[in-house]
Symmetry: C2
Subunit: 580 residues, 2 copies
């Protein structure tokens, strides 16, 4: 017998369809729960009938949707998987090097099983944490995953729950932690039937993607629990080491205990129970250090958040043409980059012309390890009109400089799949909404957004073309070419340097010194016994080196003589007294 | 020459009408400001013309609207008033006894000047702080004031800015501080022209009264400044000692620095500048101690907030008939009252059946002086179907018990006008929206709300009837009757007791001990050297008294003999070893 349980305070009558039989459910109890015990082995298809509606709806907590978001749910038992990672405890996040990847495009097959064949490569690269873009069941043939609707079901296209488990198991065996991207701020617009069941969303607040999730109104205890249980499932049943929470600024919650705070407290308890290190990483547009402050200090207790300010600061120095466009309007001076390296938030209470208001708050007393820095990620590549990667835009020399800054900076560094070898392939926005009207709306929204950056709509690929997805898949044959092998070698050396340096793993922002010249286009960053000299100018730059230091890495022929280091144009040199 | 300045980023052309002349304004500058210097003495009528709209709009920052919200603005100069309160510094809020009053109904005349004649009476009663319901210009002949639209203009019906200044000046001369109720969460629906000028509101969040104020989106710096300047004006130019902020839970702000926190920081600076104690008091439905925590501890830095949980706890014990109705459903046990006296929030994270979710968070480490307790206020009387006061509902004996609990409780006590003499008059909801459709909507909304309490709509007065307003005016002739004089005497004795007791002014919640019996309907509260014995049962209750204590106040013939105090049914006795 299987004990089915369903939170559905809205209907007054609920039945469950199991196979081709229909059974009335008992309920609702005070909490809105309906129950039924039915003979149903693992693998059985089921769904719910609400009031007199003839449609059989999938389970909002379905673990498996083999026929997609509109199809039946299928019973799945987490206990059937054999794990090989019983001694795994997870690496400290402060020393992480994160690698973001999208299962659908990381390999030609687009599955977990194909991806796990690449894990020795990632380990060899020096990666510590694999960051998976969302894997929850989403509509259509392909997609980034942010429009997921069955948040407990692993996409059948990627290999379903067993596929994810094989992937995580293999990561752990290879010494890699896994961070999973989850979307707790909205449901995708297609295949979302949650409103039939209960008040999952509220019309009190609007997100850019529709009504906000109901974290504060009537019935919100159960909605919060839905997401808490979701987080617990990934970490307990899939052995996921951490979650990346998408766009937490669209989680609007006026409760005395904010959803994120309660989530962090729950995950902390779970970590103690499981004996594994678990982390929560927020994507936040708020520039509010409260997000990553410990709960005890009045914060929400997230372990880290992404740092867009660093990306924008660095990108506008690398690619001057896009200064002044969209959110890049707020950046473009070396001072911004220097501030982002030292203070994390460039916008820490100062006026932002892009936002037309003051923005942010200073990061006081927090380690840089609460912030994640990157020069490429799925958004920064994929939300460009042509999905062009940094190397396509600014060339090898500047891309090497950028990557070196990312990997020597005080925050936790992150790479995006293919960045390590300057992949030849783009990463485009692709989706398959199975709904022409939705497709039209998405396409129009993107055109509007891109207009701010001056991109021509003629350049835009159609996200709904399957080819757009296919073009975004990495071409691993790139590695046979000298250019890509060269970048891979550069990346490896940088990661090796970082992972073996006490100075570069020091998150104390007080120990970071930055100087720069806007005129000569250079920036120097001193991190304890490691000094970084980045020259984005067209002429060589000379710097006084510290005594006892030698060049440990340089992207061009930097020289050190008589205490002076000379760094060629568009290159970077890293000096150290710490390492051989 | 007068330098006119207007924030109006929306129109592309702005002119100012001064008297019967029209002048083009220069602008907008980067911040959306328009300027014009025009010959215009104090008292001159003016308004603004936006683009090609023929309407002359009043100034959103108008200081005087002698012909109401739709009429012209009139130049007013704050420097023209002569103050007599140069040595005034304001009393400490922890020792406050607050008296909430509504200028329109406090006297038959309904003006500041009529009200100030009653100040010796309030001082004699022992009041320290007069709390004025909103005085900003609102539409129509009468109203509670929460639909104000010209937030810098004092209602011409009450006596305008000079009237308020005479009132505050006189309060200070009589040793009374003045707290003003301000509405920073929405604009009234009638006569609000702010949307013509700029993004004062946002459609990202909705309040029960329409779109939320824009505290976080594009242009919000100027919107925030509008409210900061408003707060500063009341405190600096009108010598107001504190603000009561209406329903702060409807101020939705995801900025890194919340509007309330920035307001508190600004007011703190202003207090230093002016050399006067200034307080901010929040009406909050969040049960979130963060509101009243110091900024340094991660709070919003409000000085105090109203405590509805205490009201509901006490009211449901006094008036058993309303248990289970509307928000009273969550209350009704002596345990609630005991918890509210000791912990402030009854709902501190526990499930609320009225809200159908968990609610609130414990108040840790905060003085009880951050909370304001009351058994009557404008809402708790006026938002009843017939505006009946506590004494009308439960009679003199229980009303005396209730008032004694309020005035001996650890939080700062507050009375509502007329409560001190158990006024015979009701306090009803009245408004004059000058708009039949709006009137109909308001009336229907109230009927729906009242249905939850089981009140018959036939009982409802029409808020738009001028008579409803008139019936709500206090009848001071009440004081000639024995019953009312008796209650006034009781109130005076209680206030005198509180104000002269070190124990009763101790805000340390750790020093409060409460015991109770739900069966015998009594509650005992020990506050240092003062013990309070409240008996709401139908039989006398006996308690063991502490040694050396004697009865200092009793609402009926309580006796103390051989260490036992006997408190008659429906009465209260206060024992102390502290006082004579």
């Amino acid at each position: 017998m299987h004990d089915f349980s369903l939170w559905a305070p809205r209907p007054t009558k609920v039945a469950i369809r199991v196979g081709d039989q229909t059974y009335a459910m008992q309920g609702p109890d005070r909490d809105g729960l309906w129950k039924a015990s039915v003979e149903a082995p693992t693998g059985t298809e089921y769904g719910f009938l609400l009031d007199d509606d003839p449609v059989v709806y999938p389970d909002p907590r379905s673990l498996l949707q083999p026929r997609g978001v509109h199809g039946p749910s299928v019973l799945y038992d987490h206990r059937d998987f054999q794990w090989d990672d019983s001694t795994w405890q997870g690496p400290p996040f402060g020393g992480a090097v994160v690698y973001e990847l999208h299962i659908g495009t990381f390999t030609a097959e687009g599955t977990f099983d194909a991806a796990l064949a690449r894990l020795p490569y990632l380990f060899d690269l020096g990666i510590t944490h694999v960051g998976l873009m969302p894997v929850a069941e989403f509509p259509g043939d392909c997609g980034w995953g942010y429009d997921g609707v069955d948040l407990f079901a692993v996409s059948h296209r990627y290999g379903g729950p067993d596929g994810l488990k094989r992937f995580v198991n293999s990561c752990h065996v290879h010494g890699l932690a896994v961070i999973l991207d989850v979307v707790y701020n909205h449901f995708g617009p297609v295949g979302n039937y949650t409103a039939k069941f209960g008040p999952y969303v509220t019309d009190r607040h609007h997100t850019p993607w529709g009504d906000a999730i109901n974290f504060e109104d009537s019935g919100s205890d159960q909605v919060r629990q839905f997401f808490f249980d979701n987080a617990t499932m990934w970490m307990r049943d899939f052995h996921i080491d951490g979650l990346r929470l998408d766009a937490i600024h669209e989680i609007v919650d006026r409760s005395a205990v904010h959803f994120l705070e309660q989530l962090a407290a729950n995950v902390d308890n779970l970590s103690s129970t499981l004996g594994r290190r678990l982390v929560l990483i927020a994507e936040s547009d708020l520039n509010n250090p409260q997000i990553v402050k410990p709960i005890e200090a009045g914060g929400f207790g997230m372990d880290a958040q992404w740092s867009d300010d660093f990306h924008h600061s660095l990108f506008t120095l690398l690619h001057v043409d896009e200064r002044g466009k969209g959110y890049y309007d707020d950046f473009g001076e070396f001072e911004c980059l220097a501030k982002s390296l030292k203070e994390m938030f460039v916008y820490d209470g100062i006026y932002s012309s892009y936002r037309n208001r003051r923005h942010g708050r200073p990061v006081d007393g927090l380690s840089a390890h609460h912030f994640i820095g990157f020069i490429q990620n799925h958004d920064q590549v994929g939300n460009r009109a042509t999905g062009d990667r940094l190397e396509h835009i600014v060339g090898m020399a500047r891309t090497k400089v950028a990557l070196a800054i990312v990997l020597t900076a005080p925050f936790v560094p992150m790479l995006f799949q293919g960045e390590e070898f300057a992949a030849s392939t783009p990463f485009l926005y692709f989706a398959n909404h199975e709904d022409p009207e939705m497709a039209r709306l998405v396409a129009e929204g993107r055109k509007r957004e891109f207009a701010a950056f001056g991109w021509d709509e003629a350049q835009l690929s159609n996200p709904e073309d399957y080819e757009t997805f296919q073009r975004s898949q990495l071409n691993w044959a790139d590695l046979n070419q000298a250019k890509h092998a060269e970048m891979l070698d550069w990346t490896k050396r940088l990661i090796h340097l970082r992972r073996n340096s006490i100075s570069l793993n020091d998150g104390d922002r007080g120990h970071v010194k930055v100087s720069f010249s806007d005129e000569q286009h250079w920036l120097r960053m001193d991190r304890g016994q490691v000094n970084i000299f980045a020259n984005l100018g067209d002429a060589p730059a000379s710097f006084e080196a510290d005594a006892d230091q030698h060049i440990v890495l340089a992207s061009d022929n930097a020289t050190l003589a008589e205490g002076m280091v000379v760094v060629p144009a568009n290159s970077i040199a890293i000096l150290s007294s710490e390492l051989q």
